[in-house]
Amino acid sequence: MRMLINVPETVVADALRGMAAAHPELNVDVENRVLVRRDAPVSGKVGLVSGGGSGHEPLHGSFVGRGMLDAACPGEVFTSPVPDQMVRAAAAVDSGAGVLFVVKNYTGDVLNFDMAAELLEEEDIRIAKVLVNDDVAVTDSLYTAGRRGTGATLFVEKIAGAAAEEGTPLERVAEIAKRVNDHSRSFGVALSACTTPAKGSPTFDLPSGQLELGVGIHGEPGRERRAMMTSREIADFSVDAILDDRRPTGPVLVLVNGMGSTPLLELYGFNAEVQRVLAQRGVVVARTLVGNYVTSLDMAGCSVTLCQIDEELLRLWDAPVKTAALRWGC
């Protein structure tokens, strides 16, 4: 195992101490594992809180800041945070306008956020929730825990964050967040398994020369294993998997996302293929974001997310954002 860590037990706390040192604009509570924008609560503003297992950085902690999240709760590696963290985060960002929880559809995240919401309602903090479930690789939702939340999380947090920053009321921010999720679809591919600090070895065995199609973001195996494909073939397969599920009737946002250890050289090359196949299928691209945003530790691979936008969503996407990992317009 070659990892830049001390011991597995302190990986999350060590990273939070490092974030605190690098980002004085964040209020990092290392002991309780909550990151809050320093000017919170912002008067009259809906608070946006998200969280999930660690190991997906920059998600979610590095998306805290003006125009995006007000607070984030990192759990242990690939393990959802506990309700205490969410309660603390919501209390820190609520200005009386209520709090929106952005929850990725994983059993642990859903259960813990539900418990937190119950506790907060007893304290008279208004809570709304949006469930992100964009992953088309999970087809048979009757017999599974439902579609996973992956790349669309970034779209939801950015666009709902912009709406909240404008002073939009809770119900309306929640409706916008839900619209972004409903209009988003993702598909992911792994070229290698990832290594969790606790296990110290790859979470599944993927021989060289093979790839996993339809992976999630937790080092879990995908739906199907095949012989290695070219970037062109992977783009065709991924985009078609998305379009088979939902064919956009208007322009889209594109996220070409790296899983953690695929270099930008490869991701941009892959993006060229994604843009080619989208053009061939008649899908108009409004904006494209390429980079490592929703990662899976050191997994090699990529995912594609498409979100069909309208005028309002595009305006909110373009609105200023100032976070550690996403920053434009200010």
Partner: protein, 198 residues
């Protein structure tokens, strides 16, 4: 009759069992999940043992509700709320009694398991902890040893099943052939009870 001291020993025995078996639980979880079940429960039950040392609840119900609350606050993932709910709900059901019979525990545990099924939306055969807990509760009416054996058998019986809940469900048919880590840890919990009370 079973008193608070015995329930404390149950939780300590579970903490020791999870310590001992953490590697195996994580190994099982890496096959069909995300390889953290062992370390998560280890962290949670270590915290349970620590808080029981400090607070020393006087009743069986008090021990379990405190343990459940501690699990919810420290474990995270799905196993935190599910195990936390199991113990907290069972503890609430036992109420303020200074000691309880095996039959009373079986009945309370049945309520706790029902709450877990409701929270997770799962049923028997979904390849979850319920596949060990449901037969164990039934067998607990006869003896602690029978409950342990039923839980072990239930955990083993998850091997040929296809997962329908949790992260393993995303594997579809590829989850077949692997023992469910949640059912395995649930069997440890029942085994720890048999160890201290049997």
């Amino acid at each position: 009759m079973l008193d608070a001291a015995l329930f404390r020993r149950w939780m300590y025995a579970m903490a020791a069992a999870v310590d001992r078996e953490a590697g195996r639980l994580t190994e099982l979880d890496s096959a069909i999940g995300d390889a953290d079940h062992g370390s998560n429960l280890q962290r949670g039950f270590a915290a349970v043992a620590a808080v029981l040392e400090k607070e020393e609840p006087a009743t069986p119900g008090g021990v379990l509700t405190l343990a459940g609350r501690q699990l919810i606050s420290t474990v995270g993932g799905a196993s935190g709320p599910l195990y936390g709910t199991l113990l907290r709900r069972t503890g609430k059901e036992l109420g303020d009694a200074a000691s309880v019979s095996r039959e009373e525990l079986a009945s309370a545990l049945g309520t706790g398991v029902g709450a877990v099924a409701q929270l997770g939306g799962a049923q028997a055969g979904d390849k979850t902890m319920l596949d060990a807990l449901l037969p164990a509760v039934e067998a607990l009416g006869s003896s602690f040893g029978a409950a342990r054996d039923a839980a072990d058998a239930g955990a083993l019986a998850t091997v040929p099943l296809q997962a329908r809940k949790g992260r393993a469900s995303y594997l579809g048919e590829r989850s077949v052939g692997h023992q469910d880590p949640g059912a395995t840890s649930a069997a440890l919990l029942v085994g720890a009870l048999a160890e201290v009370a049997g």
